[in-house]
Symmetry: C2
Subunit: 209 residues, 2 copies
DNA sequence: TGTAAAGTGTTGCAAATGCAACAATAATAT
DNA sequence: ATATTATTGTTGCATTTGCAACACTTTACA
């Protein structure tokens, strides 16, 4: 369940969605969901499923800017998607709820008694997204692949609260996340193991320092 | 210029700050302003001045994660700063207003008639920050220095609405922003000029394609 | 106004990295 | 159960990039 509705009852959520004039669309896998969006400001909430925001280079390269999962939000409020260079592809069957930005302060909703909760949830969600972005920037600005990998492992270790943890993404996805060549990354992880900095067993990582 | 107090009168701003129990501190140049922050969630607004958020590597390297200027916000709502690895240094004399996150929905303020404006401003500010982050990620995820530079120039060209524009940061700062070696960047810009992709004159850039 | 600090430009060299082209295994779908 | 797709591992090689060590110019400031 989406955080946008945290601390709200089913009935309130239904009412909220109605007052916000939200609309929900379900997409099949591998659909470009931005092709039919308007140019107005909007918030899109992933009710279920996941998607990738992809940057299409001038010479045909594709870069995954962001992967978004259930509960997360996107839309013009988080990233200007109104350009041909950006596409947004569902990774699986995905349900999206759209809310027009201007509706979040419409006359009816600000009178409802769950409005403050909703607004606080929205702020928290934007805030979470911002934290995620900044954490990634912290890694992307590292000069070497080694520092990116170690930085990621350290973040995970902090989140999981242990020097041993299991990665919840694949190595292929990690390479994309850190924006490095997967093969070079594998090579570097090999060196890190040789030099005794880490131990790995599949996606189980142990920091030895 | 976006700011937390857009569309509010002087008197309302004063009232708001009071109700929010905000406190304002002025720092001199080169001060680490995080040394005395609590661990509560808070929003910090830069009333005037500027600062850098710096990541301190395990082996002494410093990376500028973010540069923030007048009107922008930071704090735990945007980036977890509660770690020794992060320092936050004023670049000049800087005035900061702190607001406890929990205060933004206190009993008194939600009754005020400028509350909706304030909340909308806050959401807009978070949203702007998120857009800035994502734009930078778009550049940082480019594989080559060339693509980073061209990406940045393209963004600027779009923002300024012309193929000729003047950079509002120094080349040294651009290198830090793109997280590449300044010398390598200069070299690459040289190649781009030779190959006829761009023309430069100081910080005036012209795209020729 | 003079001096220190910051920004810019250049280049050789070593090291890191992306790319390509594989093979092998694991996961998923029909 | 089997075919198909995704993930992982490996390695040679060319290229890109960071680093270091300069000189020169511009800007800041005491």
């Amino acid at each position: 369940m989406t955080n946008l509705f945290a601390n709200m009852r089913e009935k309130e959520i239904k009412k909220l969605m109605q007052v916000l004039k939200s609309n929900t669309v379900t997409y099949r896998k591998n659909i470009n969901i931005l092709s039919n969006r308007t140019r107005d400001d909007y918030i899109a909430i992933i009710d279920s499923g996941s998607l990738q925001i992809i940057f299409n280079d001038y010479d045909g390269n594709k870069t995954i800017i962001e992967e978004l999962n259930t509960g997360e939000i996107f839309g013009s409020l988080t990233y200007s998607l109104n350009t041909d260079e950006i596409t947004c592809i569902t990774k699986e069957e995905t349900k999206i709820t759209y809310i027009e930005y201007n509706q979040i302060t419409n006359d009816e909703i600000i009178k409802s008694d769950f409005y403050i909760i909703f607004i606080k949830n929205l702020i928290r969600l934007l805030s979470d997204q911002l934290n995620i972005c900044n954490q990634r920037i912290e890694l992307l600005t590292q000069r070497t692949t080694r520092d990116k990998i170690l930085g990621y492992f350290k973040q995970q270790s902090t989140i999981k609260g242990s020097k041993t943890f299991i990665m919840n993404i694949t190595f292929t996805e990690l390479a994309a996340y850190l924006s490095v060549d997967r093969c070079s990354m594998t090579r570097e992880i090999g060196y890190l193991k040789e030099e005794g900095f880490i131990k790995t067993n599949g996606r189980k990582i142990t920091l030895l320092y």
